[in-house]
């Protein structure tokens, strides 16, 4: 365990009252922060100070605080989730920063994610993409035994690699085009790989990519920023797979 000496940091934080008024950066000081504080715990401390001073605390999305719900969403020093490999903001710890650092904190910025307040954005567009086809059309009940259709381990593993997506939207925030290709391709690939999802693969990929465009997401121009930003390490090979599925679907 590293030592417990405390740090003082300067935060430059995006504040915006709501979607209709312009936002701006405000400067705050974070005091008495240890290396074991998580990034969000550091913000909690700043907020406690703001409340004590009669000021409005910074609002940000967060929930599980263990890196799986996908709720937290901040761009830190220009990098979605702070740029630590495969780490959400809530799992980012202050040991990655030094005493005296200045930290810029912004919301996800993308056309399809309007700002709600401060660091909170509206990510309903990601739900819309899933609603367009991110499922198998099975009914509750009336399905075969779980072992009736064998799935070789490598296929199950690759499908799981894709299924690890937490839907946080960092891929969109990281993409210069604001594209949701990595997000969409992860679901398309998971279900296309598995025999249970194969039957609807063609309609699924068409409908989900159409929803993606309608929601205002941009296109992919192979920057790979999405993969760099993804806290679950989802691989861009799934975008290639989605493109293949998309082309196949044109002939299906």
């Amino acid at each position: 365990m590293s030592d417990h000496k405390t740090m003082t940091l300067t935060l430059i934080v995006w504040r915006q009252k709501n979607a209709t008024v312009p936002g701006k950066f405000e400067t705050y000081t974070a005091k008495n922060i240890t290396s074991h504080h998580s990034f969000l715990e550091m913000l909690d401390c700043v907020n406690e100070d703001l409340i004590a001073a009669g000021k409005e605390p910074i609002v940000f999305d967060h929930d599980c605080r263990e890196g799986i719900c996908g709720m937290c969403s901040q761009v830190i020093n220009g990098a979605p989730h702070g740029g630590q490999d495969r780490t959400t903001v809530c799992q980012l710890h202050m040991r990655k920063f030094k005493d005296g650092d200045t930290i810029y904190i912004e919301p996800w910025r993308a056309r399809a994610f309007p700002i709600i307040k401060d660091l909170i954005v509206d990510r309903a567009a990601l739900d819309t993409i899933i609603q367009a086809g991110g499922y198998t059309s099975c009914h509750t009940g009336g399905v075969p035994d779980g072992n009736a259709i064998l799935i070789p381990k490598p296929i199950a593993e690759e499908a799981t690699d894709a299924a690890e997506c937490i839907g946080c939207g960092a891929c969109v925030a990281g993409c210069p085009n604001g594209a949701a290709m990595l997000f969409t391709s992860a679901k398309v690939s998971q279900l296309a790989l598995l025999p249970q999802g194969r039957a609807e693969a063609a309609t699924r990929v068409k409908n989900m990519t159409a929803a993606m465009s309608q929601c205002g997401f941009g296109n992919c121009t192979n920057h790979y920023e999405c993969m760099a930003a993804c806290p679950k390490g989802i691989n861009v090979k799934f975008i290639a797979r989605m493109n293949r599925e998309f082309i196949k679907a044109q002939f299906a």
Partner: protein, 638 residues
């Protein structure tokens, strides 16, 4: 009042099938005339909303997060139990039922548990059909792992992400219904009141967390699938938004709260590092399959590097005390033993609140790669939080509040004592008794959601006329006024302390006095302290901002205010239950070897509390428990 669970009679093997046949059906053409409200869209609520929508009902679903995909079910790591008996190691529906009843220390209702075990197999099939990528072997068959409290391998899993994969399965089924128009999803809404008209649940009042608008929604039935309440301890493994608010609002309208003192303290969590800490992180107890738990035998070895403590000077206390279950002893036993070791001054890490979970032997036996394949994400998570490498040195773990076995009282149909109010998943009390076994929460959530409520709710709906009460009824108006008045009260106190300070203060009382070991003295003390904190809260809390905007302080104020009332009830339930059972451990009631000592003669019942206001004593209603299939016995894991 003596409560009746309305369980079916006859041989247990036939009860659920017979009951399903006996339930009246709603004509397919009539289903669309019924509105059903679903509060919470985790495993139970998401599965239920999807299944009910598919059946043809109109479902209005609500969650406080920005998407149903984020419910805290997502954080369950280890797995889901089912009685498939694929490994042919002696499993059966009856054995799963037996293990669950025994694991729950004989405080659950047999019929509900039988049903759970019976439908467990359907759940696996359902999830596979949805494209949930369970772990498979090279031949393509589903793989199983072992879990605490069982001697068979019946746990299905997907890496350390089982909850996420199952939730995303339910979310995908729900998304399909949202697209089809049978489910209307309301995200970023928090239920603040249950609307009861002439004794029947008719709707809810919610706050739109973005605009601050107070909305009412009427329906023919209201389902709560709003999760558990262990954030009453402040530090827990729950998500920050988890609260008792939806359940408590129903309790304040007359729904009985059953067994609130049955709380589970999970043994394998990362120890607290400092005061500022906002939550505790759990690591799946599946780690106990390959990790060995120990503390140094001698206090002199506490500060040493674990590798420097010789084998002979380590106490593998679970293996020593429970040779047949060893490190896989049930959660309550594993947690209490860790506390005991630390209380005896043998704990390791900051504040001496930790024990080692050591993988060295397994790595030697199986290779580091195998361990990485099984638990890689957990080791990664541990390293991110503690800055320590679990492959190179033992992890440090300590128990943390994790799950609420207690919840709103429901009958066999999952209906509360308020007609038209159904409660699913962790929010109800039904199947886990006084202690839940690992990999059983996911099973219960999906069982209630996919395979129980779609049948049982029909039996109620046929008795009501659809759309009988609309949200222009005076009770809805009154509910909105009440909610607005409370909101204004929070905003106008303008005191000195933040909601977090109050929540922490309550949490400390709950953890110290109502935590892993409870006594008459500590509980009496808590029952004095909690109202004092509550009183100060209403005088001195500071809530910034306004009610007409996104305001996280205001959201938190409501949740903490409810915990300050509910915590007292929890302590009172714990005080009244003069026995130890499962997660409820009273130091006055223990066997000479420190094991929980049940009192079946006096306490073999469900304790369901009727809340009558903060200034009045709650009234206890009892539902006697009968054990006809599994015989009452002293729980032994030795």
């Amino acid at each position: 009042m003596i409560l009746d669970g309305k369980c079916p009679t006859g041989p247990i093997e036939k009860t659920w099938d017979k009951h399903r046949f006996d339930l009246k059906l709603v004509n397919p053409a009539n289903k669309r005339k019924y509105n059903i409200i679903m509060v919470g869209t985790g495993l139970a609520g998401g599965a239920a909303a999807a299944s009910l929508g598919e059946l043809g009902y109109n479902v209005q679903a609500f969650c406080y997060q920005d998407s149903p995909r984020r419910a805290h079910s997502i954080a369950a790591q280890g797995g889901i139990n089912a009685a498939k008996n694929y490994p042919s190691d002696g499993d059966s529906i009856l054995r799963l039922m037996y293990d669950t009843i025994k694991g729950g220390d004989f405080r659950a209702r047999e019929h509900d548990v039988w049903r759970l075990a019976q439908v467990s197999n359907n759940i696996i099939d359902q999830c596979v059909a949805q494209g949930v990528p369970f772990a498979r072997d090279y031949a393509g068959y589903l793989d199983n792992r072992s879990f605490g409290g069982a001697q068979v391998s019946r746990t299905f899993y997907s890496r350390g992400l089982t909850g996420q994969q199952l939730l995303l399965g339910a979310y995908s089924a729900l998304s399909r219904q949202i697209k089809a128009g049978t489910v209307k999803m309301h995200t970023r809404r928090e239920m603040l009141d249950l609307v009861v008209v002439d004794g029947v649940a008719r709707g809810i009042t919610v706050r739109n967390l973005v605009t601050g608008e107070i909305e009412t929604h009427a329906a023919d039935a209201v389902c709560l699938a709003s999760g558990g309440y262990v954030n009453v301890f402040y530090l827990s493994t729950n998500a920050k938004g988890c609260s008792v608010t939806a359940n408590w609002s129903a309790a304040k309208k007359g729904a009985f709260f059953a067994n609130p003192c049955y709380t589970q303290i999970h043994p394998t969590c990362i120890p607290q590092a400092g005061e500022y800490q906002s939550k505790l992180t759990l690591m799946s107890e599946s780690l106990r399959n390959d990790g060995r738990i120990w503390v140094p035998k001698n206090k002199a070895d506490i500060g040493k590097l674990p590798a420097d403590v010789p084998e002979a000077d380590r106490d593998y206390y679970l293996e020593r005390k429970y040779p047949s279950f060893g490190n896989l002893a049930p959660r309550d036993i594993a947690s209490r033993n860790a506390k005991e070791a630390c209380d005896n001054g043998l704990g390791v890490g900051p504040g001496g609140r930790g024990v080692y979970l050591d993988f060295a032997d397994s790595i030697k036996r199986l290779s580091e790669d195998t361990i990485r394949e099984r638990y890689g994400n957990l080791f990664e998570m541990y390293e991110k939080i503690t800055d320590e490498n679990g492959y190179k040195r033992p992890m440090r773990i300590y128990p943390a509040p994790h799950y609420a076995m207690g919840g709103l009282w429901v009958d066999y149909n999952l209906m509360s004592n308020i007609p038209g109010l159904f409660v699913l998943g962790e929010a109800n009390f039904s199947v886990h008794g006084a202690n839940r076994l690992g990999a059983s929460a996911l099973m219960q959530g999906l069982s209630d959601g996919y395979f129980v409520i779609p049948y049982t709710i029909g039996g109620y709906l046929v008795t009501v006329k659809p759309g009988d009460v609309k949200n222009d009824h005076p009770e809805f108006k009154k509910s909105v006024e009440d909610v607005k008045a409370r909101t204004n009260k929070f905003l106008n106190i303008n005191g000195k302390k933040t909601i977090t300070e109050f929540h922490r203060e309550l949490g400390k009382v709950m953890w110290n006095d109502v935590g892993m070991a409870r006594s008459k003295e500590s509980l009496t003390d808590a029952i004095k302290k909690i109202p004092a904190i509550r009183e100060e809260f209403w005088q001195n809390v500071k809530v910034t901002g306004s009610g007409a905007e996104l305001n996280q302080q205001l959201e938190g104020a409501g949740r903490v205010a409810d915990f300050l009332e509910f915590g007292e009830l929890l302590a009172k339930d714990a005080l009244h239950r003069e026995e130890s059972c499962g997660g409820h451990f009273r130091v006055e009631h223990q066997l000479p070897d420190g094991e929980a000592k049940r009192n079946d003669a006096d306490f073999s019942y469900v304790g369901a509390w009727e809340f009558k206001g903060n200034d009045k004593e709650p009234e206890l209603h009892k539902e006697p428990l009968k054990f006809e299939t599994i015989h009452l016995a002293v729980r032994s894991y030795k």
